[in-house]
Amino acid sequence: MGIDLTTSFLPGTGALAATVTTQLARLNWIDVLVIAIYFVIVVFIGFYLRGSSNTSEEFFMAGREMTAWIAGLSFVSANLGSLELMGWAGSAYQYGILAMHWYWIGAIPAMLFLGIVMMPFYYISKTHSVPGYLKLRYGDGARALSAICFAFMTILMSGINMYSMAIVMKVVLGWDLNFSIWVSSVTVAVYVALGGLKSAIYNEILQFLLIWAGALLVPILGLIEVGGWSNLRQQIATNLGRSDYVHLWSTLGHFSSNPMGVNWFGIVFGLGFVVSFGYWTTDFLVVQRVLSADSIRSARMAPVIGAAFKMAVPFIVILPGLLALSVLPFHLVAQDVAVQTGQHSFNEVLPLMLVRYCGPGLLGLGVTALIAGFMSGMAGNVSAFSTVWTYDIYGAFLNKKATDRHYVAMGRWSTLIGVLVSVGTAYLVQHAASIMDYVQQLFSFFIAPLFGTVILGMLWKRATKEAGFWGLLAGTVTSISLWLWVKNDPSALRYVAFSPDAKHLAEDVYRSLWAWSACVLVTVVVSYMTKPRPVAELEGLVYGASVLPEEHDDHWYQKPIVWAGAVAAGFIILNIIFW
């Protein structure tokens, strides 16, 4: 589930906020100037784009005029927040190269599948959202259920993002929590409420470039310091006294034979299929970016372009975590231990590496990249919330006959209110630190079953309206029930995740697999018990009942399928190299 799983690596931050007395770095005026330049530009973009966000199509869908490159970079950037950077760098330190699976098998196949198979249906149905597609395919029941779950989830995630940023700024720079929360939320509210999705997308592009500009120096200088990749592998094996930290697949024979406590079946089917496909193909936060594309060809190319860049992200996220295992003169510990002993935690590995290699100016750029990532994460959630609230809850059930102008106003207001509720959530998290742990469960509750409902709806004509609703509900209830079962009786892990050795990440992927299976099973059974819709009504919604518009590429190398093949080949080669 990409970014969202990383939240589990920042647990217990409420306690952390209370106990931190030292900071990792001090910024000088050059660093502050670098940060200020970023804030000026993002607010300027919001005011600048206000004039081009007057209709609902412009405000919620960026006018559907984004090129493949803009939509593709925004698609991958919406997922590349700072929780992603900090969390996975920390998990690479904790679990080794296995963390790479969340970038490769946990993303690339699903992104390519979205571009080549699913995007044509999303795009030609002209839906404004994923719940909107469910309305067209299954009716109001499935739409209402998914819209409410999604709205709840995005607001919570936005608050978590906000609080995480504040806590990181406190730990790294000693900034006041309230200052960070309010400055970032007011900035996001201004630029999203003014410029809508287009403003969010523009800022995601800037954030993507900033992350590379700010973080790329760490692995480059790190590899120079350790003397290259071969030396790094050797030093990690020597320092840890074990070699399973640098192998991607060869240690996945059993739960207990690798640092992550997971096996190949869970990685391939749980992560690589259900979790990954669920997140990348049905989470509206990322799908919304591709729906803004200017043509069906751009919409198909965007996820392929995103996949190519996603494959490179471990270089700036996973590699710094591995380098830290070799070059840091002290050991990092789990968050709860760090709070008690005053040591540095896994989560601080990226800031520690930034401080190690970056002086004034470069440090400001690295910190700006982190701030940009957090704000982009907030903006992505808030813009997706605003769209789903306005189209799929307010416009669908509360006020069906308002004018387009009214819906745009509602979009702006819901953006502001969404940010305010997120601020409230951020403060709530401060007093209930365990909520951070629950966030990743939320995704297994709602996204994994949603994938079952959407994929059956797109590929199976026989799926019925009633089946869509009951399948989605059954998957969600199954996931929540399994989570409660393990919470009340930890020994149930042997049934839910097939092993008592399974750790949190393994439990999540297996619970997602169960939820998806329950959704698919109930959808199939209920479909055969109820009356199907006439095929004519499924035109543009389902494979086999739709005539897809022909794409006229001048040359073979312009076809999305060719580029998807190239990315797939790169994906396979990389997995073999790091086997």
């Binding site: 050059i30 670098v34 200088l221 120079i224 002086g359 470069l362």
Partner: protein
């Protein structure tokens, strides 16, 4: 309203601004070494990294300047 400022122009301006600030800092540090330099400071990363950002930023700022993009759209 069709925007006259491309997102790539904004990206160019941002990179150019950062490049100039970081390159200047790097050059200043050559004559005024930091009391607590970072690891591998002998490689002068701010100079070559700031220089790279300046060149890339300048390229995008010029290549996607508003009038130039408007002319291309008309063609």
């Amino acid at each position: 309203m069709r925007e006259s400022f491309s997102i790539w122009w904004f990206a160019g301006v941002l990179m150019l601004a950062y490049g100039v600030v970081i390159l200047s800092t790097g050059l200043w540090e050559v004559g005024h070494p930091l009391p607590q330099p970072p690891v591998l400071s002998n490689l002068h990363a701010p100079i070559w990294w700031g220089g790279l950002l300046t060149v890339v930023g300048l390229g995008y700022t010029i290549g996607f300047r508003p009038r130039h993009v408007a002319d291309k759209r008309r063609k």
